[in-house]
Symmetry: C2
Subunit: 237 residues, 2 copies
Amino acid sequence: MATLRAQRRAELTDRILDAAQAQLLEVGPAALSLRAVARDVGVTVSGLYRYYAGRDDLLTALLVRAFDDHADAVQDAVEGAEPDLSGQDDDGDRLAPVRAGLLAYRRWGLENPTPFGLAYGTPVPGYAAPADETVRAGARCGDLLVAAVARGRARSGAAAGHDGGDDLDPARRAHLKALASRRGYDLPPGVLARTVDLFVVVHGFVVMDVFGQLRPLSDNPDRDFAALVDRGLDTLR
Amino acid sequence: MATLRAQRRAELTDRILDAAQAQLLEVGPAALSLRAVARDVGVTVSGLYRYYAGRDDLLTALLVRAFDDHADAVQDAVEGAEPDLSGQDDDGDRLAPVRAGLLAYRRWGLENPTPFGLAYGTPVPGYAAPADETVRAGARCGDLLVAAVARGRARSGAAAGHDGGDDLDPARRAHLKALASRRGYDLPPGVLARTVDLFVVVHGFVVMDVFGQLRPLSDNPDRDFAALVDRGLDTLR
DNA sequence: AGAAGTCAAGAGCAGTGTTCTCGAAGTGAG
DNA sequence: CTCACTTCGAGAACACTGCTCTTGACTTCT
């Protein structure tokens, strides 16, 4: 019954992370100051070390939260675009949830450039994000999209064996099959290959967009991104 | 005739930048320490301020150098793959220089992850790179590739008016025409659109590759990147 | 040779992450 | 209720950081 102490501890841990997040949004990850965080929370710097092992530990927590928030946004969008289970109103695009997810993927990045940069940008120097954490969290978006593609194809009655990716490089085909079985993806290798390709293109576009490197190339990223996504979805039918 | 002094000044300016570059490779941009640079060069910290206005100024110099080195690598590759002017030995792929440039684009990133991250990754917090510098330097790679595409098409005798991009979004078509005339690109809008698309895809792939986010998705990035480039080049013929 | 400009050096300021110690507070067993 | 035990917050201290300012020596030009 470690109620009082444990409860206080949980509360303060959260408050510290919130303050760190607020500061992250203001000054960026590299300028994140433990002293400023401590001041905001109302604790001494040393007291802060009771809750996080150090600056790196705090950064890791922020990174994980960024990944989770991003995946949450994508998940919400995908689920929101999923057709009714009742079966009616199913004459729309079978891949609409995928499109919604990809648009949300970009939107979250544009609306949260700092966490996005922390998660997908240059690693903060002197700080190596724990690989398992980033892989785990980063894979969530991929899983969501693959699942949405699979559901969409199932609804349109696509043959499971169709497009096994016979034109694929054999080694890549083998890798994709392994990836599918490892993560429980229900897609034939050919479709999975094009889904991965689409994901890479989308991520690349979003990275350039969020980091401001797209401006000379596009006067209207919204329009060009939508076209890019639609082109990619066309290859998945 | 400020020879002696000016010469010393130029030398020391270079040596400082070299030391900063060396330190950048070791500890990353955010941890770049003026004191350590000064120690390496053999000057005091305050003396360092005679040559660079501060940390930001030094970072900018490193950023510009990174962009230039990257574009140099691409340029070398493109020129190295250009066919002889004598006209013989011209039975190869007309777009081989483009391919060589794109492969070099990625190779440089993989071999110089830290400068690549400084140039294309998350902006260093508290430090805003001068927009004109980054745009100017960043545009060089784009210019190189567009020029290589134009030369390749000219060699294969493509009609200048061919593929004006009639299927393009009118607004995007107008923007591309403006971009072409502004930067002197000799490509019809349709081809330019697909060149830009290819560049975005390539950059996105390279970013994920260099930052280590591609690993779960590809067991052999070399192979997948080559396939991606070839697919893109096919759309440019 | 003397005036003007440039330079390196050092001290100092305000800030950083991290470690340590010390006394107060909460916790659970007897 | 008491007592050992753990946890906690605070403060001081250490070794750093970027940056500013002053001082005295050096180079260049008139």
